[in-house]
């Protein structure tokens, strides 16, 4: 079976995961850029691929795959190329643990902060009626609530404070982990690194108070090692905003 198509936004967070996994495996794929800030993910063309309206999604022949972390496991198992999961069962468990910790505990906090400071202000200048119509089109009720908060700036102080607490706390745990092992969850570069790198590469710029050369030397050592991988450079070259470019300047300074 050939023909992989990936529907993705910037090489960042969830979209960045399957992009980088495919690059690492050397799997050629057709790229469909879905502009999240123009709400492409809720337009009929994309909903025909993924009715839930979440990105990324991947097609492989007539198969349609969603959920970025599960897509990465599929990419690793289905295609030839370097193994992105080690053989040891306890290492594999630890890698999956870290990915869940990121996907379900730490990641949502990064996301909430990112949406309140970046995504919200980027889309807020449209007329209210237009924003309401855009919300109406979103299939999942949870996503409708999230977009409403972002568009109208309805984040509560308490929930933002809790997200900031989790970022600080989670980053400290990651620093400890990378003091024990070369990579996240094992001594091998794996899906956990791809997952967590895509949500943390910007930390030295976005949260210099929690991640820096002095405060988190292990994270900085690891970020640099991942950043220097050719697959990361190729993936970042696919970005259409200056997101990746801005961070590459930071990385060069590490």
């Amino acid at each position: 079976m050939a023909d992989v198509t990936l529907y993705h936004w910037e090489p960042n967070a969830n979209s960045g995961k399957p992009m980088l996994a495919l690059m690492e495996k050397g799997v050629p794929f057709e790229s469909h850029y879905i502009n999240m800030l123009e709400f492409d993910q809720h337009k009929p063309d994309y909903l025909a691929i993924n009715p839930q309206g979440t990105i990324p999604a991947m097609t492989h022949g007539d198969r349609v795959l969603t959920e970025s972390t599960a897509i990465m496991e599929y990419v690793n198992e289905e295609f030839d190329g370097p193994a992105l999961m080690p053989a040891n069962a306890q290492d594999r468990w630890r890698i999956r643990w870290w990915m869940k910790f990121m996907d379900q505990w730490l990641g949502p906090s990064f996301s909430m902060i990112g949406w309140s400071t970046f995504v919200g202000p980027m889309v807020r200048d449209k007329p209210k009626e237009e924003l309401e119509a855009l919300i109406e089109r979103i299939p999942l009720p949870e996503r409708r609530r999230a977009w409403r908060k972002a568009m109208f700036g309805q984040f509560g102080e308490e929930e933002l404070a809790e997200s900031k607490r989790r970022v600080k706390f989670g980053v400290a745990r990651l620093e400890e982990e990378l003091g024990k092992r070369d990579y996240v969850g094992s001594n091998h570069y794996s899906l956990a690194d791809i997952n967590i790198f895509n949500s943390t590469y910007s930390l030295p710029m976005s949260h210099p108070d929690v991640a820096s050369k002095d405060a988190t030397p292990n994270i900085m050592r690891w970020l640099k090692a991942v950043y220097l991988r050719p697959a990361v450079q190729q993936t970042w070259a696919m970005g259409k905003t200056d997101l990746a470019h801005r961070y590459s300047l930071i990385m060069e300074d590490i």
């Binding site: 198969r63 795959l65 969603t66 959920e67 972390t69 599960a70 897509i71 496991e73 599929y74 198992e77 289905e78 069962a89 306890q90 594999r92 468990w93 630890r94 999956r96 643990w97 869940k100 910790f101 996907d103 379900q104 505990w105 949502p108 906090s109 996301s111 909430m112 999942l140 949870e142 996503r143 609530r145 999230a146 977009w147 929930e159 809790e162 997200s163 607490r165 706390f169 745990r173 400890e176 982990e177 024990k180």
Partner: protein, 262 residues
């Protein structure tokens, strides 16, 4: 090196799926029953690397202690058993079916388990937690590393009930029962075709709901038959035989949190 030990609660929710997965794998690992509602999981003897139990996303679930490291999260423990046993058939070999199993389990853990845990804890563990002596409760909360898990214990003790969350949780249980019903509509015996971790994990969280949210199952005959098949499966029987209370369907302890963000 110390022997591996599986610390588990009553066979309900994550303890049920992990005990059944262990039985299915045939691995010889010692099982020790602990009282999750006494916070026993936070003070395990010989635990040195404890991040996975300290920060378990699924809350108060079973822990495998291996070489001093606490291993948590029911689905990943089941995958671990399968892989450590040299592939015992708990995971599809085909990459696409494997993706589907992991995607399904992720949605169980993100949607169904927080809903069941919310309803189950309000119905079954709120009163026992509220009845603990001040000193005993303080000792439990002192032993809990995670601020948000500790808060879920405190909310139960203080009888904090959010009507919208309760309603949303009831809706999520109904939706998941329907999802199982739809999946089985093509006549398949198990959710992924062949038996897998998806069956165990989904069953383990739905089983207590047959008492607490019985109405959710009334128009789901395929789901009910599938649950009967699971109930009879030897690995599930072996897990249920580890119960020390009369009705493990009512055994809950603070579980996974409800999604904070989209």
């Amino acid at each position: 090196m110390a022997e591996d030990i599986l610390y588990h609660g009553e066979p309900n929710g994550p303890s049920l799926s992990v005990l059944a997965a262990l039985a299915e794998s045939g691995l010889d690992i010692e099982c020790r029953h602990i009282d999750l509602l006494k916070g026993a999981r936070h003070t395990l003897h010989d635990a040195q690397e404890t991040l996975a139990s300290d920060m378990a996303v699924e809350g108060e679930g079973p822990i495998l202690l291996k070489d001093g490291e606490t291993m948590s999260e029911a689905v990943f423990l089941a995958q671990y058993f399968d892989e450590a046993a040299g592939s015992c058939g708990l995971q599809p070999k085909d990459a696409y079916l494997h993706w589907e199993m992991m995607m399904w389990c992720r949605q169980v853990n993100e949607r169904l388990s927080p809903a069941v845990a919310y309803l189950g804890n309000l119905a079954c563990s709120q009163a026992p937690i509220a009845a603990l002596a001040e000193e005993e409760f303080a000792a439990i909360t002192r032993s809990i590393f995670s601020d948000d898990l500790r808060q879920r214990w405190q909310d139960l003790r203080d009888d904090v009930v959010d009507a919208a969350r309760r309603e949303d949780s009831e809706a999520k249980v109904r939706q998941f029962v329907q999802r199982v019903e739809d999946k089985l509509a093509d006549g398949r015996v198990w959710l992924m075709g062949d038996f897998s971790i998806a069956d165990l994990e989904t069953f383990a969280w739905l089983r207590p709901m047959t008492e607490l949210e019985a109405d959710a199952f009334t128009s789901a005959p395929l789901c009910r038959s599938w649950m009967d098949r699971l109930e009879q499966r030897p690995c599930v029987q072996s897990a249920l035989a580890k119960a020390v209370t009369e009705n493990p369907k009512r055994a809950f302890a603070p579980g996974p949190e409800i999604n904070r963000w989209g």
